[in-house]
Symmetry: C2
């Protein structure tokens, strides 16, 4: 198994090192990841400045083929598949992200966008996030991801589909199993805090608390609340097919 | 009708001025848009630096309430709805973008992401793009958008659904009508061009040609090829519901 790892926390982040350690037990590992943190970049790509890929040595294994790119997670996957790697990888694993990527938040996620980019390039993929911040132990998530990658290659996934995985930030023996989930719907309340700078001009910080709008037991948010790993199959076809029929009745005025 | 306009080409771009002129005939217009071009930012949001919204005067109507924001299109919509506008707008129109947003490319589009952000905030929305670059005439697209906004408010759209509109870059009398479409599937061929800088280090430019993978008459790409305006209903639920059932049969190894 030839696996490409990437992330949005940057190539030196703990999550990708831990993922790499777990993956090396079962696969040939390549890493192509951003040279710095690129959180909340969504599905951004770099068109207006050139990309550079610098070969780097990682602390946990200096011999590992690893490149730091001055671009977004989506750039890293495109560049790796099209220009850097000697052969197409069998699978792309993006993560382990520090912090969850649940519900509507996947839209903003560089971690998930990198995995979507892989699927667009015809490579199966998994995005993996840990729902914990400081002092997180990434190893349960990394080891689950390594096993899941092998299962994905064995079972296959439908065309254009990837898995978005969130792992509770808990010791391994407190994780209550795995749930196949759909994405919940979230939004933010009280999104901005207005402040005034020393020169009297106002500015805004994005703040706000996540509120789940869906209230069902089969969402990713619900699985995490029950201390389970959530596995959501997602795709990138935004078309609302149901709405097409009713729109065809509309009278479009040119 | 109270309408919020935004875009990803920046507040001073021709497309949003022309849109504003057409909209003012039928609505009270507010503009909150990026202070500079933000193309291909996808659904990025700004969390790590503060946002500023500066009141600006636009050439075509200096009295129009308009703010330039140092953020992405998604930031503009969030900030407008949550902090700047006196009341929630009835509808958000994003565009008119210089260049198409068709098929898989909507993933990278700041124009479309702004419209998705509106729907997340509970405001109906339309994204409008013109499939032409230099010396484009934005007025047919702007006028179509103004009429469509009124139709959307009259007919309503399903929860969480917006319209992604692409208008052919043609004189009005050469446009062959309106088609309700789904998003085609596209990918890029020969994506990167490798060059060597004057100091001998290599770098990459993103290049590549769009190739349509779908080959059907009901896609947005097909409508544009037939000189029609495409109207695609899209939503932001990435879940692949069909895949959930087969995944539940998998043996997840923790």
């Amino acid at each position: 198994m030839r696996v490409l790892l990437t992330n949005d926390d940057g190539i030196y982040a703990d999550g990708i090192q831990e993922l790499s350690k777990a993956m090396q037990k079962v696969a040939s590992v390549y890493i192509v990841a951003p040279d710095r943190e690129r959180s909340a970049v969504g599905h951004a790509i770099t068109m207006h400045h050139p990309l550079r890929a610098e070969r780097v040595k990682l602390f946990h294994n200096p011999n590992l083929p690893a490149w730091a790119v001055n671009g977004t997670p989506s750039d890293c996957v495109k560049l790796a598949v099209e220009a850097i790697l000697p052969e197409k990888p069998d699978i792309v694993v993006s993560g382990v992200n520090r912090g969850s990527n649940l519900g509507t938040d996947v839209l903003y996620s560089g971690t998930v966008s990198a995995a979507i980019e892989a699927v667009i390039s015809g490579v199966p993929s998994i995005a993996v996030s840990l729902t914990a911040g400081e002092n997180a132990d990434f190893s349960p998530a990394a080891e689950f991801a390594a096993k899941l990658a092998a299962t994905v290659l064995k079972n296959g996934l439908p065309q254009g589909t990837l898995l978005n995985v969130n792992v509770p930030g808990l010791p391994r023996n407190e994780i209550e199993g795995v749930a196949v989930t759909r994405l919940g719907m979230t939004r933010y309340n009280n999104e901005f805090e207005q402040r005034v700078d020393p020169r009297g001009r106002s500015y805004y910080w994005m703040v706000g608390e996540v509120v789940e709008i869906t209230n069902c037991s089969d969402t990713d948010l619900s699985a995490i609340r029950c201390n389970k790993i959530s596995v959501s199959p997602i795709h990138f076809d935004f078309t609302n097919y149901q709405a097409m029929d009713s729109l065809k009745e509309w009278n479009f005025d040119m």
